[in-house]
Each structure stands twice: as structure tokens, then as C-alpha cells.
């Protein structure tokens, strides 16, 4: 409204443009009213860009966190970490050099994801654009040039807070809380197809089902959508209370677990058809679980790994209660079940900020947790049925420089 302000002021300064003054004043009043109306409809639109990223990032306390984002490679022992200074480091299991990625567009990194079925491509959601890094795994360079990055941007589509590759690696979907349409990118061709649904006021979080047949899109309002990815139609799910914070799919794509803002329950949606061919209808909510009292807020998604685990972190605001990560076992047949399994705690004073399962850990499950003190620790779970002894203690650390495995206390029972 700078121009309108200027007109109003200049008119007030004694110029005899009373008509202009009135008109400008009226227009300004109207636009202020319209924006405040819009803002009251969708409160998140009044946030600044950085605040919005902090609000909708999957990393808790994103703005003062030393680690901004984290992503395991879906097929190899390799992960990428975005740091506070907007650089990204890539760590591998062997002692090969750790490349550092920097780009002038790479600011306020909110999400990272490796492209499935590809060794090199890493998608980075930034404040103004989407970056696709092509980091040659065979290269020994520690500073890949910015020529290795593709910049994808679309007017009005920033900041980007969530990205999701399709499991086949052919499409990338990006979402921004200020844009009502999500973009489906054909990355190699650098072209995007916008998919617009006005209700909800934006898209904050995306999650693609592992079989590729469905895509969850959460909005800042109490509403989320489940798209089927064959003809790209969607089902609308108005939530009970608050917006959908995070979600995860069962490995077969038949079940979706969701956590809502301000609620201490996990919702589960089961989809009747697993192949996603003929049927687009799904059955309603089938299960929810109450948490213990001291877990005040859900903030991290429950994750599946393999077929046996769900984890969720609880953030304790109460005194004397450290933040813990709750571990659940899951079973998907004959009915979907969550069984409490144990808790994972960090060092004294450290709170979990982000966690992810290693996508293909051979001997069981490997949980990687980013802590508030900047550490990343790997917590392995060995399944006794897999032929190994059940172990509680973290035994191996892939990225030695950021890991302090011995510092974790793990109150978990033996896993069957």
C-alpha cells in the first residue's frame, strides 16, 4: 500500500486534490479491510516468509535449530543435512569426502529429499525456489559448483515448505503455504503442472504413499486432502480440530497415520484398495490412540520402517519431564494395530527436533534423530527374528563427526 499511502500523505500535505485524497483513502481502507479479512480467514498469510517456514517446517524450532533439515538417501548409506548457514552437507558411510552444497538461491532450507531411483539428485526446498542438486557420487570434489543445481521456480509459489518425490522418481510435487495450488514438476523438463484447490488457503505438508498411488496434502486450515495419483482427483477431509501437522503411510500404502495440531491422538485412515486402480473411495477413520498425559503435543510424524515400527515424539512442556520419543510397533494385518514399545531419550537438556528411519536398514530398523544441541544420533533396533540378538544400545554410528552414540539413554524394551 506504499503508493496509496504516498497519495494520501501528499494530498494531506495541502495539495488541493481532495477527490484524489478521498478516493485513495477509500481504496486504501478497502484494501486494508480486504487483507485483514483474508488474514482473519487464513491467519498464516499474515506471517513473514521466515516465520512461515518456521511454522510449517517438519523440523521443530526451525529458526534457531542448528540443523535445518535432514534426509536419508532412499537406497544407499548416505544422508544430507541442511545447516543453519544454509549450506548442505552430504555424509556417506565410508570415509569419502563430504561435499558441501552452496548456492546463492539456497536460503531458508525447509526440506530435503533425495530422488528415488537415482544416485545423485537431491531436491531442496528453499525460500524462493526449488533447487535440484546433481551430486555425482563418484566425484571427489567437496564443493560442487552451483552449475550442478537446477533452479525451479514459479511465480507466487514461495516459500516452499514441503516437497515429495513420487516413488518412481518421475515427478516431484512442491507445496507452499501461500499458494493454493501445488506444483507437479517434471524436473528434467523443468515444467510444472499446477493443481489448484482453493479451500484451505495453501498446502503445508506433502507425503507420497510408498506404492505411489496416493498423495497427502495438508493445508494450514483444519482440512487435508488425499489425492489419487492416477487421474489426480482428490478427497477432502475436514479435520476435527486444528490442521494436520504430519503424517506417514504404511509401507503398503493402505494406511495413513496423521497427527493434528493441538490434539494428543493419532488418527488412522485405511484405504480399501491397495492397487489404486478402480476404486477411489476409502473407509473413514478407524482408530485413534490417546497418549500419556505428559506428552503434550505431537510434533513429529510417526514413521514406519519396514513393517513393524511407528515412532512419535512428544514435546513435554511440563517441568522435570524430558522430551522423549515414543516407539510403537505396528501390525497391518489382520487389522491395523499400534502397540507401545518404549521410549528414546536424548542427553540431558537435548530435545528431539527431527527424526527419520533409515529407509533400508538390513538388520532391523535404524532411527536417526536430530537433537536440539545439533547432534545427530542413530538408534538401531535389531529384530530378534532377523537372526540377530535384540539390542537396546546404539551400536553403530554412520556419521561419526556429528554423532555421539554413547550419550543416548534408551528405555526401550526388547523388541520382538
Amino acid at each position: 500500500y506504499g503508493l496509496l499511502d504516498e497519495i494520501t500523505n501528499s494530498a494531506e500535505e495541502g495539495m488541493s486534490l481532495t477527490h484524489c485524497n478521498h478516493a485513495a483513502f477509500a481504496v486504501r481502507r478497502f484494501s486494508l479491510w480486504a487483507s485483514s479479512f483474508h488474514g482473519s480467514l487464513f491467519p498464516h498469510l499474515t506471517l513473514s516468509s521466515d516465520e512461515m517456514v518456521a511454522e510449517f517446517s517438519q523440523m521443530l524450532d526451525w529458526s534457531d535449530s542448528a540443523l535445518r533439515s535432514f534426509a536419508w538417501h532412499p537406497h544407499t548409506d548416505k544422508f544430507a543435512v541442511a545447516l543453519l548457514d544454509d549450506s548442505i552437507k552430504i555424509y556417506k558411510s565410508n570415509s569419502s569426502p563430504t561435499p558441501t552444497l552452496k548456492h546463492r538461491c539456497q536460503r531458508s532450507v525447509c526440506a530435503l529429499q533425495w530422488k528415488p531411483l537415482c544416485g545423485s539428485a537431491l531436491a531442496v526446498a528453499c525460500q524462493s525456489c526449488l533447487l535440484i542438486w546433481h551430486v555425482d557420487p563418484a566425484s571427489l570434489s567437496t564443493r560442487p559448483s552451483s552449475g550442478c543445481a537446477q533452479v525451479l521456480s514459479h511465480p507466487g509459489h514461495s516459500p516452499i515448505t514441503s516437497i515429495a518425490w513420487s516413488p518412481t522418481g518421475s515427478l516431484l510435487v512442491s507445496a507452499s503455504p501461500v499458494d493454493t495450488s501445488m506444483m507437479v514438476w517434471d524436473v528434467a523438463a523443468e515444467s510444472a503442472v499446477p493443481l489448484q484447490r482453493v479451500g484451505g488457503g495453501g498446502v503445508t505438508y506433502l507425503s507420497w504413499s510408498p506404492d505411489g498411488s496416493r498423495l497427502l496434502a495438508a493445508t494450514p486450515s483444519a482440512l487435508f486432502r488425499v489425492w489419487e495419483t492416477r487421474m489426480w482427483t482428490c478427497e477432502r477431509w475436514p479435520c476435527l480440530k486444528g490442521s494436520c501437522q504430519s503424517a506417514c503411510w504404511s509401507p503398503d500404502g493402505g494406511c495413513l497415520l496423521l497427527s493434528m495440531q493441538g490434539e494428543r491422538v493419532i488418527y488412522a485412515l485405511t484405504f480399501s484398495d491397495l492397487t489404486g486402480i478402480n476404486n477411489t473411495y476409502s473407509s473413514p477413520v478407524t482408530a485413534f490412540f490417546l497418549m500419556k498425559n505428559h506428552l503434550k503435543q505431537l510434533f513429529c510424524p510417526p514413521f514406519f520402517s519396514g513393517s513393524s515400527f511407528v515412532l512419535r515424539a512428544g514435546d513435554s512442556q511440563a517441568d522435570n519431564h524430558p522430551s522423549v520419543i515414543a516407539v510403537f510397533k505396528t501390525r497391518s494385518s489382520p487389522v491395523f494395530e499400534l502397540l507401545p514399545c518404549g521410549f528414546v531419550m536424548g542427553e540431558a537438556g537435548a530435545e528431539p527436533r527431527f527424526m527419520q528411519f533409515h529407509p533400508h536398514f538390513q538388520h532391523g530398523a535404524l532411527l536417526t534423530v536430530c537433537w536440539s544441541d545439533g547432534r545427530i544420533s542413530h538408534v538401531p533396533f535389531y529384530f530378534s527374528s532377523a537372526g540377530l540378538l535384540g539390542g537396546d544400545s546404539p551400536q553403530q554410528a554412520l556419521a561419526s563427526n556429528t554423532t555421539n552414540p554413547s550419550s543416548n539413554k534408551l528405555y526401550t524394551e526388547q523388541i520382538s
Binding site: T76, C118, L171, A189, V193, R230
Partner: protein, 617 residues
């Protein structure tokens, strides 16, 4: 017009009907856009009630109905042109000269003429609708000396009509330059209505921008050359020029806000009508079509996927069949099972054999094409001696090259060496798709011309210098200087090589997903027998693609075009193909994992696949 095309059942039963449906929708949408145009053209801020009432009375007036009928005719012709000219493989001129040849081609001239006429018709309708000072060509006026009333030329009306002709020509011109008739497929499937709704803002934006550009250019043109048509019209129709009015080809005459507003509004209306027709046609034609995998009746056999894939004459059917293959391989379990099934008497995997054979032949054809291009570039790279002039095998193939246009323009004295610029179906304007559609055997695939273009361009001067004297050489070096500085449009040859790669991308997706699905779904092991050949086919193609991207200009990214109706997807198809190829190999290697060691392939290929198994590509 379409008599030749009707050979194929698919054109007859599907494509024609899709085109008809798209034209019908554009005609149905015409009253809506006309109403919006009427509202905007008569817009007055201070008398809203009068404005609305005027518009409603105008919308029911007989002149508006007549205008609508005329506009329907225009839309109909536009739709028929879309059907006639559309192409799935863009024709990419590899040099400025080739582009010039395309623009000056007779077929294109006819196209421009028709579009000029249609532009004038639409603008006539628009000027009648706007009314007021724009409505007729002749207006009564008083002569200044005698005071008697005579018919004068209404310059405002003429201005709008000429603007229509100008916009028609620029639409036709940009249609060639920006490949307006190229129809690309979206990376995702959507129903027609959501897709239309999603594209509509883009079309409105494009037509507004295009109209503003055209209005600016036309105003400038009219400022300089406006008197020519004005005097011509007034002399042929015996209309006086009213000297009391401000002439429009002056600065003060053109700086009329209302005139410019009406010009841009009518221009937007004009472009919107055409773009909408193009958009609807694209949406309808690219809609996925589900071919049956196998049929119980023998008379339907030619409509089944394996047969349709092998068809080469009807490009649109082949493309849709490949798209269908890619879709079924990802989304449809039951149809995949049909692909893997055995024939009932005999027990042969006919479906799988036909489909895999067709996909692999497509891919190996691309490999051959890439290798030929690399050889051509490599042999071009070194300095050639004069003796090379004698072996000119490719000069026998005349068309679409800078050389041919070049020689024809300076030819005459050396007619033996020059190839005549023959305007026929083999012309640059008619795309390979058209040529295939009219059932003519294509003399060469679309990439061929691009391969030869550097040859001929460099050889042309040598021919001259070898055979003629010093004067000719001077003349030639001059001409050469004009064109050679930017003769080869950068990366155009690379784009042309991959012009039809959408088909290859689908073949790769279909093949890789079917092979991956066969790991768990193939009961009889029909895929295993072809697995070695599929893998080596993919690896060989990967090597060729890798080598191609080492060539200069091959990996440079095209400049992104701002809002335009012309589709520029073809410019990035080579990157898409490379990504799809790697993804396809990864899909197979991650699915089969260590089992690949049991597959019988050569050691080099195994080494390459090992890289994929370790995710080092």
C-alpha cells in the same frame, strides 16, 4: 481434405470425433466470451446501470447474433486448421535460413492469408459490437468548402480491420516460429474439465500479453505506413477523407486512450478465441486412450495394443498406445497380467513378445540415430580436404537445409549443383506427422535434415570455390558472412534429434515398469527370456546418450520462454529422456538386485549395471 487420413480406424473413430468435440465446445463457449467482450468494450465506470442495460439489449440484438454466426465460422475454420496442421513431433528448423524457408513456404502463405481474413472478420464483428464511431466503414460527413454531405472513410473502422489482419498474420507467423501446432503430452493425467480449468488463466494471460504486444507493434506500423492502405481504400471505394478529423497515422491521433483500449480489448478477444480452440483441441487429442491388450475376436485384433504399437503410419495412435502402455505398466494390475499371459492354444507369450520387441526397436532406432549423429559431427570436426567435395551422398536429399535454400537463392548458373526448392508434402512446414498421416512413406526421419545441415553448409562454399572464379568466391564469402555468423541455431540439432522422444520416454517407462512388475507378477517367466536383450538395449542407449551429452551445446539449457501458447516442451525432451532412461535402469536393477548376476549379458554391460546396483550413476 481428410480423405487420405481416413485409412486408419483410429483417425476415423477417435481423432476425428475428438476434434469435433473440441470444436463443438469452442463454439459453445463463444457466446460466453462474446458476452464478456461486450461487457468490457462498453464499460463505463460512472453509469453502471446504463452500461448493464445497454449490454443486455445489445446481446439480444440481431447484429450480435449475426456476429456470433460469423465468429462460429471463424472458430470452425480454426478448428479444422488445428486438425489439419497439428503435429506430435515439432519441426525444428536448424538454421535461420531454414526458418525463413518455412515462413515463406506457399502452404504457410495460404495459412497466413486465411488467418488475416479471419482476423479481419473477427475485428469487423468486434467493431460492430463496440458500435459508436467504429461501426461502419463509410460515414456521412460535410465537406468543408461546399458544405454538402458526402460519404467519408471512417478511419477508426479501417484501423481495427487492419489491426485484425495484422494480428492474424502475426498469429500465423508466431505459430510457425513457436510451434503453435505442436501438441505435447502432460506429465500427469487429468480429467478434461480440471485440466481446462487449470489452463484457462494461462490462456487469458497469454492472449492479453500477445494482444498488447500486437497492439503496440501495429500502432507503430500504422504510424509509419498507415497512409498507404488509407489512400488505397479511399480511392478504390471512392470515399472521401474527412479532413476535419485528426488522422490516425499521427502521434496525436494514436494517443487516444479509448482507441487503444478498444484495440487491445478486441485483440484479446481475437487471440482468446483462437487460443481457446487450440487449447481445447490439445486437451482432447492428448486424452489417454485405453487400448485392449488382447481381444477374443479376431476382427478386433488390429485394435489391440501389440498391433497398434507396431503401427508406424498413424503417429497419434502410436503415441497414445505408448502412453497407454506406460500407464498400464504403472497403474493396472489386471492389464499387466494380460500382457504376461500366454496364448490359449500354443502357450506362447505373444503379447509380451510383441510389446517388448516394439519398445526395443524404438529404443535401438534412437541409439542408431544418436550414433549416426555423433559420427557426422566427428567427421565434421576435422578439417576436410577439397577431395571431400566429390563424395556428396547427402546432396541428393535436397530439402529443409540451409544449403538447399542457399543454393537455390544463388543458383541458376550452377543448376547442376543446386537443388530446387520444391514446395510439396516434403516441405519443411509439413511435419513428419502430417506426412505419415497422409500415408506417404517418409523419405527420411525428422532428424536427418539436421544431421546433414552442417555438412552442406560447410560444403556449399567449397563447391563454389572449387568450381567458380574469384568473383563468385567474393560474392559467396559475403553471403556466407551474413548467414554463417549465426547459421546454426545453437542446440537446434540436438533438439531435433530428440524431437519425438516422448515416445521413447513412454517406451522406457512401460518397459521398465513391466519388467519390475514381472518380478512378482509374471507367473510363466515370459519376461526372463527377454531380460538380457532389454538390459543390453538400455545400456547401449545409455552409452549413446552419455556420448551425445558430451557434444557442444547438447547440455546447454534452453532459455525459458515467458507466457506463450507455443509449447516449448520439445526443447527439454533430451534431458527428460536421459532422466527417464536412468530411472528405468534403476527401476530394473533395484527390483532384481543380486539376481541380475544370473542374467546373461556381456561383461562391459555388467560392469555398467554394477554401477547402478551401487547407486553410483
Amino acid at each position: 481434405m481428410f480423405s487420405l487420413k481416413q485409412n486408419c480406424w483410429f483417425i476415423r473413430k477417435v481423432v476425428i470425433w475428438r476434434a469435433v468435440a473440441s470444436i463443438a465446445w469452442s463454439v459453445l463457449l463463444l457466446p460466453v466470451t462474446s458476452a464478456v467482450f461486450v461487457l468490457l468494450s462498453r464499460f463505463s465506470l460512472f453509469h453502471p446501470i446504463q452500461w448493464i442495460s445497454e449490454c443486455t439489449s445489445l446481446l439480444t440484438a440481431s447484429s450480435t447474433i449475426f456476429s456470433l454466426v460469423v465468429l462460429c465460422g471463424v472458430v470452425l475454420i480454426t478448428g479444422l486448421f488445428n486438425l489439419e496442421f497439428y503435429t506430435l513431433v515439432p519441426s525444428i528448423p536448424c538454421s535461420r535460413m531454414a526458418l525463413l524457408g518455412t515462413v515463406l513456404h506457399p502452404r504457410q502463405c495460404v495459412h497466413s492469408l486465411v488467418y488475416c481474413t479471419m482476423g479481419m472478420l473477427v475485428m469487423w464483428c468486434a467493431s460492430v459490437t463496440i458500435g459508436g464511431r467504429y461501426s461502419t466503414l463509410g460515414i456521412p460527413c460535410k465537406q468543408s468548402e461546399s458544405g454538402e454531405v458526402v460519404t467519408c472513410l471512417n478511419e477508426y473502422h479501417l484501423f481495427l480491420l487492419l489491426a485484425g489482419a495484422f494480428m492474424g498474420y502475426s498469429h500465423s507467423f508466431l505459430g510457425v516460429v513457436k510451434n503453435m501446432y505442436y501438441v505435447s503430452f502432460q506429465p500427469i493425467q487429468q480429467y478434461k474439465y480440471p485440466r481446462f480449468k487449470g489452463c484457462l488463466p494461462m490462456v487469458v494471460k497469454c492472449s492479453v500479453i500477445q494482444s498488447l504486444y500486437s497492439a503496440r507493434n501495429f500502432a507503430a506500423l500504422y504510424f509509419f505506413f498507415g497512409y498507404v492502405p488509407k489512400t488505397w481504400i479511399s480511392s478504390t471505394l471512392h470515399l472521401q477523407i474527412d479532413s476535419s478529423l485528426q488522422p490516425l497515422d499521427s502521434l496525436t491521433g494514436l494517443l487516444d486512450f479509448s482507441l487503444l483500449y478498444h484495440l487491445s480489448i478486441s485483440g484479446t478477444f481475437l487471440y482468446f478465441t483462437w487460443y481457446l480452440t487450440v487449447l481445447l483441441f490439445r486437451i482432447y487429442v492428448t486424452e489417454a486412450y485405453s487400448f485392449p491388450v488382447q481381444s477374443t475376436f479376431t476382427e478386433d485384433a488390429e485394435q489391440c495394443l501389440p498391433k497398434v504399437l507396431a503401427e508406424t503410419n498413424t503417429l497419434v495412435m502410436k503415441f497414445l498406445a505408448l502412453q497407454d502402455l506406460a500407464l498400464l505398466s504403472q497403474h493396472s494390475l489386471s492389464r499387466r497380467l494380460e500382457v504376461f499371459s500366454l496364448s490359449q492354444p500354443g502357450g506362447h507369450p505373444h503379447n509380451w513378445n510383441a510389446i517388448s520387441r516394439e519398445c526395443m526397436s524404438l529404443l535401438s532406432e534412437l541409439t542408431q540415430r544418436l550414433l549416426a549423429h555423433q559420427d557426422a559431427v566427428a567427421s565434421n570436426g576435422r578439417v576436410k580436404s577439397q577431395s571431400d567435395v566429390s563424395e556428396t551422398p547427402r546432396l541428393s536429399v535436397p530439402l529443409r537445409t540451409p544449403g538447399s535454400v542457399f543454393t537455390s537463392s544463388v543458383g541458376g548458373m550452377h543448376s547442376a549443383l543446386t537443388a530446387p526448392f520444391t514446395p510439396d508434402v516434403d516441405s519443411p512446414f509439413s511435419s513428419p506427422a502430417i506426412r505419415r498421416l497422409v500415408g506417404q512413406q517418409e523419405p527420411r526421419s525428422p532428424w536427418f535434415g539436421t544431421v546433414q545441415s552442417p555438412h552442406i553448409m560447410r560444403r556449399g562454399p567449397k563447391l563454389w570455390s572449387a568450381s567458380t572464379g574469384e568473383t563468385a568466391r567474393l560474392k559467396l564469402s559475403y553471403l556466407h558472412k551474413i548467414f554463417s555468423s549465426n547459421v546454426q541455431l545453437p542446440e537446434a540439432s540436438s533438439q531435433a534429434l530428440f524431437a519425438d522422444s516422448q515416445a521413447h520416454i513412454w517406451a522406457l517407462q512401460g518397459l521398465s515398469h513391466l519388467v519390475a512388475a514381472s518380478f512378482s507378477e509374471d507367473q510363466f517367466g515370459v519376461v526372463q527370456t527377454t531380460l538380457p536383450s532389454i538390459l543390453s538395449c538400455l545400456v547401449v542407449l545409455l552409452e549413446a546418450v552419455d556420448r551425445h551429452f558430451k557434444l557442444p551445446h547438447a547440455s546447454s539449457k534452453p532459455v525459458r520462454t515467458v507466457c506463450s501458447m507455443g509449447d516449448s516442451t520439445y526443447k527439454t525432451l533430451r534431458f527428460a529422456l536421459r532422466a527417464a532412461l536412468k530411472t528405468a535402469i534403476y527401476k530394473i536393477t533395484t527390483t532384481f538386485g543380486e539376481h541380475l548376476n544370473a542374467v546373461n549379458i556381456s561383461t562391459e554391460h555388467r560392469k555398467r549395471l554394477q554401477q547402478f546396483l551401487e547407486f553410483k550413476e
